[in-house]
Amino acid sequence: MNCRCDSRAENPDDSLLRRTDGIIANVGGKRDTIIPLLQALQTEFGYLPREAIERVYESTEIDRAQLISVSTFYSQFRHVPLGKYLIKVCTGTACHVKGAGNVYEAFLRQLDIKEGATTTSDRLFSVEKIACLGCCTLAPVVQIEEKIYGRVLPGRVDEVVADFLEMQENRKKDEEVRSAGRIAGEIRLGMGSCCMASGSADIYRELKTASAQLGIDIRIKPVGCVGVCNKVPLIDVVDADGKIARYPNVKAIEIKEILHHHFSPSGLLRRLGNRIWGYIDTLHTDLTWDNVVWKPEGERTGLINRFLHNQRHISTEGYGVLTPLNIDEYSSLGGGFEALGMALSTTPSHVVETVKASGLRGRGGGGFPTGRKWEIVASATGEHKYVICNGDEGDPGAFMDRMMLESYPFRVIEGMLIAAYAVGADRGIFYIRAEYPLAVTRIRTAIALCREKGWIGEGIAGSGFSFEVSVFEGAGAFVCGEETALIASIEGNRGFPRQRPPYPAVKGLKGLPTLVNNVETLSQVACIVKHGAEHYASIGTERSKGTKVFALAGKIRHGGLIEVDMGITLRQIIEEIGGGVEKGQKLKAVQIGGPSGGCIPAALCDMPVDFDAFTLLGAMMGSGGLVVLSEADCMVDVARYFLSFTCEQSCGKCTSCRVGTQRMLDLLNKICSGKAQMSDIDLLEELALHVRRSSLCALGKTAPNPVLTTLKYFRHEYEEHVRGICSAGVCKELIRYEVTEGCIGCTKCAKACPVEAIPYTPYRVHTIDTERCVLCGLCAEECTYEAIQKVALYADRNQ
């Protein structure tokens, strides 16, 4: 009998079209739903298949011109399928200064990916560079699917790949074990993205299995970002008496010991069994000899306390305690929604006045007075009004918005509700980068919870105020942090900023008055309303009020997410909170404000944190990335790094930004390769000033800042490069590696070299074939005798 399977099996094309139709029916086919539609298609197929796109043309309002325009603008969209697993190498600022470039190349070599390609021949892995994973304190960072790896050195990429593949195997076997019984205590575990990157998820699993195994019933409470990113994974153990013991940098292997120390297993047999378990563990692992529980409390947490001293938590109030999605806890512990209630009991104009009097300024970068903005929106008229929370944090080296959305979603929502009430808005949109999936999920859940409790919807808290909120996922474009570009993207267009006036406050989304406020700005609002404008205005400097959240990263001993009063000096942040520059190096500069900001030299680090003071120095508060640079960093390279970022992120509309930043980059590349002339430095400066002067949006106007500030404070480094010298040894075209006499011929370097540039010559001084050498620096890193050194390739042309 003939097999009839063929006729029954669905044609793969039909299946694709059927799925596409389903998605279109679900998301909608209007011109302004193009971004969510493409996102849904990509989630379904992993990329945007041609057939699906053709289907979109056939059955929606979206035409070819719009689709090409939009799908090629946002970096999220892919037009070719990738390998099964995607390795994202973070090239954010912190990762860059810690050698992300070498990590990327190491992956390509490790996976044997041919030049120009990004996918392995068996289509198992694809490698791509991404702007920032927001785990700056763990730099260099790599993400494979959902798993984030921190501190990935080029020599460790093989382990990372192996670990990931092993995890894929184990995943299938992984089971959750549950048990019932007396609650012995609570363990709080940070579950922000950074914490996850450092292995929180593993700790969480281990806590579950270990507690089940030991028969201890504890509540494992995932809390938001703990801020102390350099000490994660970090757990707080709260015993039945409410005493807290803190364990920084815990390892999964130590969990059982910690649990044992604090809690008694239930049941005698189990206890006995566990004793034996513990005994065996002690015998068989030498790790227990140095176990964290034996260390005195002070040693365990001293650094953390120092880190936290000098901070003030407004945006991050309840840090390490609040469970991100526990709305009752937010209300009871954090006094949440109290401010909203207070606002609703007064008039909207009173709220606007309070915010005005508080002196709060926009935290997104420009520092525009928030109250003033509210006032404009409040006085504008329109059928509807919008409040948009700008969470399109694209600055490579900043992750405070992500952290706040992940850890304190209710505070941001409350801020938005107060803002909406004050300006008379009835619709709200959270604009969050799709690269922050955890933040998106948490905000969505938090919105649903608020709706359940009556904080969102019709007649909020019995008042006449009604408000609806939705979430829009940004598709990956730095420029969309600019409010007019952000609005353009919600409307289904490329993120081209438009000329202001008219300001969005008057004519924004769909032509209606729109208030666009940054995440951090909104998260300060509740505090202002609750404690009054006067209290808030007492914090900070003359013209910069309140606190500022910074992502402290780079060459710092204790990086992390910090919230400090305005007016604290940069040096205090670095020395007192961050514990100084890592490896005992000297501070060279602080890069502040990311690609829009600038480099402030060490000599000027006594400057207080203040919008206007930073602007005066040529830098900018920006979104709050604070990257510490040491003498091992090359300032020309730092400028080049930021410029290559803005160049790629420029929307392309205006000439001076589109072509100007590219020509600046060309000049910087020339300078970094030692091929420039002194006149090129002047040409660069002239061009930088031109781009600043004649760009039409904030991205273009501020893009030259990293170049202009380094030219201002570190011009000698530019001149040095023209002479052929990069004294920090960063610019690859100006250095080579050399084996010194200290070499004993141990062959470690030869084994480490990924390109076989060091011949295997045991007991003889090694040599490096400079033709083959790719300057990855692995050999120098491996060498125990410091016998491999970076030296200048050229003699100084002036001497």
Binding site: D63, R64, A65, Q66, I68, S69, T72, F73, A477, R494, F496, R498, Q499, C647, E648, Q649, S650, C651, G652, K653, C654, T655, S656, R658, V659, G660, T661, Q662, R663, D666, L683, E686, L687, H690, R693, S694, L696
Partner: protein, 427 residues
């Protein structure tokens, strides 16, 4: 509404942009990305003016006047901003304004223009263009080293266009009987000598309406290059002199020259070169004055990819000359070129990238072509076509593209919006 432009009070009308007000009041402000009523978005900043109260540079093409506004449209700061914007655009504008054969020609002959006419069978017009430029074209072709043929783009992928042969063929078709005598303007000019420079000056002055007397030494019409005259076959030069004679130029022996005072002007050419075609050009300048030197964009060397496109174009070129018409169709109408000339730009200080392939030409319709390498991304064609042109990618890599499927949606008059020669009508 009153506003002040360059310290002069002017009246701004309702709904007008600053650019329109300024132009209406006689302040010349250039602009590229703006085109009258068409939908546009400021991008090029070539129309920049300075708001004196804030010190900010603003695009005059989108900014509306407000009461009491004070603007400056001609200070050094404004001019240097415009110049730099133009330079940046030019650094990414891979195009030849004039074809290489013309820039190489010592006589500045518009070879591509001639070939176009020739290929369309407009022999008279082609010959007219040729003679109006080179005066004695056939003779020159025998004397010249023909840099035009050496530099011809076609040569990179095969044989050069036989430029000299085409010229000779055209000259052979001369119909002496049809050469008219231009009406006189009542003024007489004497030209001394009968070298290429004198002949050229005489030719052009006569065409301007002057009565022209050429006084040649010792009664014979001679070129100064007697030695090289052997290269020119008998009858060639004679024919070309006859053409000049038929125009009404009169030749006299030099000893018979009357008092200079009897002439409106006496011209004594001073030859600074021996290159005959160059001398013809100098003679033309004596007669007509100096041509303003237009900005010249030129493609540097062609990449391998470009050579492939070139080979394809060469293989499908169907004119009888085989010319690829490498010059820009918009060379006289291109605003980018016009402003570059006006702002005294010789060449952009920034090296050109070869990101875009020169010579790639997309057929939009039978009469409309699109050359992406010349595009300055102003977006006028994108904003003003429905499901037609669109942007692709972003940043420096951003391009204006026309998906093949969208070509039928492009109206012919969209070409008028393009400020350069990227989108144009081809006859």
């Amino acid at each position: 509404m009153q506003i002040v432009i360059n310290n002069r009070k002017v009246h701004a009308m309702e709904g007008e942009t600053l650019l329109e007000t300024a132009r209406r009041c006689g302040f010349p402000i250039p602009s590229l990305c703006w085109s009258g009523q068409a939908i546009h978005r400021s991008s090029c900043m070539v129309c920049a003016v300075r708001d004196c109260r804030t010190g900010q540079l603003i695009p005059s093409c989108t900014t509306l006047p407000t009461e009491g506004m004070e603007l400056d449209s001609e200070s050094n700061e404004v001019v240097s901003t415009r110049t730099l914007s133009l330079e940046l655009l030019l650094s990414n504008h891979r195009a030849d304004c004039e074809a290489p054969c013309r820039t190489a020609c010592p006589g500045n002959m518009d070879v591509a223009g001639m070939n176009r006419l020739y290929d369309r069978g407009k022999t008279d017009e082609a010959l007219g263009l040729l003679r109006d430029t080179l005066v004695i074209p056939a003779t020159l072709c025998y004397l010249c080293q023909a840099p035009c043929e050496k530099i011809c783009r076609r040569r990179e992928v095969g044989d050069t266009v036989p430029i000299r042969e085409i010229k000779k063929t055209l000259v052979e078709a001369t119909d002496l009987d049809r050469i008219g005598n231009p009406p006189g303007n009542g003024l007489r000019i004497a030209v001394r000598g009968s070298g290429p420079m004198s002949l050229s000056a005489a030719y052009h002055l006569r065409k301007q309406g002057y009565e022209v007397h050429v006084f040649e030494p010792e009664g014979a019409i001679l070129l100064p290059h007697i030695a090289s005259l052997g290269k020119v076959p008998a009858g060639v030069l004679e024919l070309e002199i006859e053409v000049i004679r038929r125009l009404g130029v009169e030749f006299f022996p030099s000893h018979g020259m009357p008092e200079a005072a009897t002439y409106h002007r006496v011209i004594t050419p001073e030859a600074k070169t021996k290159q005959p075609a160059r001398l013809v050009l100098e003679g033309r300048r004596l007669a007509l004055g100096e041509d303003p030197k237009a900005f010249q964009s030129s493609c540097s060397r062609f990449s391998e990819a470009e050579k492939k496109t070139l080979a394809h174009t060469a293989a499908t070129a169907n004119g009888k000359s085989g010319c690829l018409y490498c010059d820009c169709e918009a060379k006289t109408s291109c605003l980018l070129r016009r402003y570059a000339t006006e702002y005294g730009i010789r060449t952009s200080r920034y090296p050109k990238t070869s990101a875009q392939e020169a010579f790639r030409c997309q057929r939009v319709s039978a009469s409309v072509c699109f050359e992406p390498a010349k595009c300055i991304r102003c977006g006028l064609c994108v904003y003003n076509s429905a499901n037609g042109f669109t942007f692709r990618d972003r940043g420096f890599a951003m391009q204006v593209v026309l998906p093949e499927e969208n070509a039928p949606h492009i109206p012919e008059d969209l070409c008028q919006l393009c400020p350069t020669g990227a989108l144009y009508r081809r006859e």
